[in-house]
């Protein structure tokens, strides 16, 4: 295999692996920009992966439509699943980190529990026959090298890239985005200006759940073709890392997600070309996490979180 082909494969795989991270990181962005910590991204992704896989399974008779129905169901399930986090941290002013931890736990337990009930005791769904297939966008996929790299991707990847643009627009060009950011930076000022802090935060957390679930569903409906306890396996935490790495900005999150996607694509490459003799595979696994720590420590550029992140808002407080 020639060098250009390797690069082409690497870019292709990077996009495949980044897609779920982009969705989830964008999800985290909405929640955290509104001031609600969301370490439950992992759990929300699990909920999405589970719902996506199960609904697609039951919709298999619909053929190519089935994964789309599963995907849509996952979006709904994600929003629904994020509701307890929103209620606890916004209405009942709970510790947002603890509430997130609880939700991660709940997702991991509940989805496998339900899977076992639905699939007669099996810990995973049967392999789905109808998952997303790759699109050859406008026939551009036929271009040598470049086509395979950029234009032969799952539809979810295109949706993810589109959502980055939409999120950027919503956040910086719409009244809702302005409210969202103000609520995350200075809720009291926002309140004084007549913004309903709670409502904005609720909306943000629900969007967050929906997006993270899209990320989870993407994994189940493209790369793994089923749901099991390790379908998501920590990608929610990488997405959280990508969000921080990307400095809570949609384009930054995109770049970080792509970067972490490369790390994941490299794993495959390193194994295929037997480079493990030079770089232990575990170090490639560790890379995203160590980089995040270095970024946070200011070694690779400082990252500043929204000012009111993690603080419940008390009406009338200073």
């Amino acid at each position: 295999m020639d060098f250009l082909q390797i690069i082409s494969n690497l870019i292709h795989d990077t996009i495949v692996f980044s897609t779920a991270l982009i969705f989830a990181a964008l999800g985290g962005l909405y929640s955290e920009r509104s001031g609600v910590v969301n370490i439950a991204l992992e759990g929300m992704m699990i909920a999405g992966a589970f719902t996506g896989a199960v609904v697609t399974f039951f919709a298999q008779d619909m053929g190519v439509l089935a994964p789309w129905i599963g995907f849509a169901a996952a979006i709904l399930a994600g929003a629904l699943f994020s509701l307890p986090h929103a209620t606890a941290s916004i209405t009942f002013k709970a510790d947002q980190v603890v509430s997130g931890v609880a939700l991660n736990f709940l997702a991991a337990g509940l989805t496998v529990y339900l899977t076992k009930i639905i699939f007669d005791g099996a810990g995973q769904t049967t392999t789905l026959s109808t998952v997303f297939s790759k699109w050859n966008l406008l026939g551009l996929g036929d271009i040598p090298y470049l086509g395979h790299a950029l234009f032969e991707a799952y539809p979810t990847s295109y949706i993810a890239f589109l959502l980055v643009a939409i999120t950027w627009y919503v956040l910086y060009k719409t009244p809702f985005g302005l409210r969202l950011r103000s609520v995350g930076e200075h809720p009291r000022a926002a309140d004084t200006a007549g913004i309903n802090v709670k409502r904005v935060r609720y909306t943000a957390v629900l969007i967050s759940g929906a997006l993270a679930a899209m990320g989870g569903a993407t994994i189940a409906l493209t790369t793994t073709s089923n749901f099991s306890h390790n379908t998501v396996s920590g990608q929610g935490f990488i997405a959280l890392a990508a969000l921080i790495f990307g400095k809570w900005h949609p384009l930054g999150a995109l770049a970080a997600a792509l970067f972490f996607g490369i790390a994941q694509a490299l794993k495959g490459l390193v194994q295929v070309y037997e480079l493990t003799a030079y770089i232990p595979i575990e170090f490639i696994y560790m890379l995203p996490y160590i980089l995040t720590i270095l970024v946070l420590a200011g070694v690779v550029g400082r990252s500043k979180s929204p000012a009111a992140l993690g603080k419940p808002y008390e009406t009338g407080s200073r």
Binding site: I39, A94, V101, L106, G109, I117, T292, I293, L296
Partner: protein, 356 residues
């Protein structure tokens, strides 16, 4: 008598108890929805744990690491820090003790303690990294500890693959017998349940936790910093040093837990494909226990019984073991959102106040 009554209506007591009840109820609802009999399930859970000596002994084994990780999380909590990293510190404790257990040759009275020390140090250092970053770089410990958990997972796998695991195997060779902390006679008493000195060590750790926090100057400073860092600084305390210390000591507890698990129970370490989970359960244990030594031990007993008994629930009532994760998650959730619990309790608390 009046005093005893007061304990039962105290919020610090009522909230966890109600959270546990709500958690069990949530589990019951999930079971009913899945077509299972919750009463039979909970009954089988208890049967499993208390049914015979072997299972009872194994439950104690299950409780032990939870005491350690619970103490780890609780200690950091006391100083206003949130240690989500007990998981990673636990893993570091495991790998360090396995490493010393395999590579070093010593008589047992030196070898086992050295392994424990290595585990404690590794866990402590892992915690101290997060403490250092918090103190001198202002990085929130929640994020660093999450990242350190995953780093620990892959780092330990690297050490295993590179040095300790024979080619083609999935686990290290056994540690030398001189590093075992199993208790032969006690195990025999409990039908070969894997009981070990770690349980005693965990209880000692709980006592140390109490003394350190409430009877020493260090403990006073740690609590003061947790209570109000600005006032503590004004009073001449070194806030940064205390933050690092708190994470270090918390890490030592978790690291010891990992070491005991290896030295007392498995005697080897397998390549990890996922987190062992004790660190996360430790968060629940600390929360339920109100971050006190006694509370942590009680919380660990509760979660040990639930997690070990889960397989009985599966056997007796056909309920998948994962259900118990739902119960634990709900308990954490209700403790975190104690606003909800208080909301439910409102009529009860106000009524009791009238009676008194």
């Amino acid at each position: 008598m009046n005093k005893l009554g007061q304990i039962f209506i105290k919020e610090s007591f009522l909230v966890p108890v109600v959270a546990i009840i709500l958690g069990l109820l949530t589990g019951a609802i999930a079971m009913l929805a899945g077509g299972f009999d919750p009463l039979l399930a909970y009954q089988s859970l208890l049967n499993k744990v208390f049914g015979n000596l072997y299972n009872f002994g194994e439950t104690i084994r299950q409780i032990t690491p939870l005491i350690f990780t619970g103490l780890s999380v609780a200690f950091a909590f006391r100083t206003g820090l949130f240690n989500i990293g007990a998981e990673g510190q636990f893993i570091m404790g495991m790998i360090a003790s396995v490493f010393v257990g395999i590579t070093v040759d010593l008589p047992f009275y030196l070898h086992a303690p050295l392994c424990l020390l290595a585990g404690a140090l590794a866990g402590g250092l892992w915690g101290a990294i997060a403490g250092y970053l918090k103190a001198f770089r202002g990085v929130h410990e929640v994020i660093t500890t999450i990242m350190l958990n995953w780093t620990a997972l892959y780092f330990s796998n690297y050490i295993l693959n590179a040095f300790l695991v024979p080619k083609g195997e999935q686990r290290s060779e056994d540690i030398k017998e001189s590093a075992y902390i199993s208790v032969q006679w006690l195990s025999e008493m409990f039908d070969n349940a894997r009981l070990h000195w770690g349980t005693l060590l965990a209880l000692v750790a709980a006592v140390v936790f109490y003394i350190l926090l409430w009877k020493t100057k260090t403990g006073f400073e740690l609590r003061a910093v947790g209570f109000n860092p600005h006032a503590s600084e004004y009073a001449g305390m070194n806030v940064n040093k205390n933050v690092i210390n708190a994470m270090l000591i918390g890490g030592v507890f978790a690291g010891l837990g990992g070491a005991c698990e290896v030295l007392g129970v498995f005697h080897y370490q397998a390549i990890l494909s996922a987190m062992p989970g004790y660190g996360f359960d430790g968060i629940a244990v600390a929360l339920i226990g109100g971050n006190t030594a006694v509370g942590v031990v009680l919380g660990a007993i509760l979660f040990g019984v639930l997690t070990y008994g889960a397989s009985g629930m599966n056997f007796g009532a056909g309920v998948p073991v994962e259900l118990i994760r739902v119960v634990i998650a709900s308990v954490i959730f209700f403790v975190a959102a104690h606003g909800i619990v208080k909301y439910i309790l409102k009529p009860v608390i106000s009524k009791k106040k009238e009676v008194l």
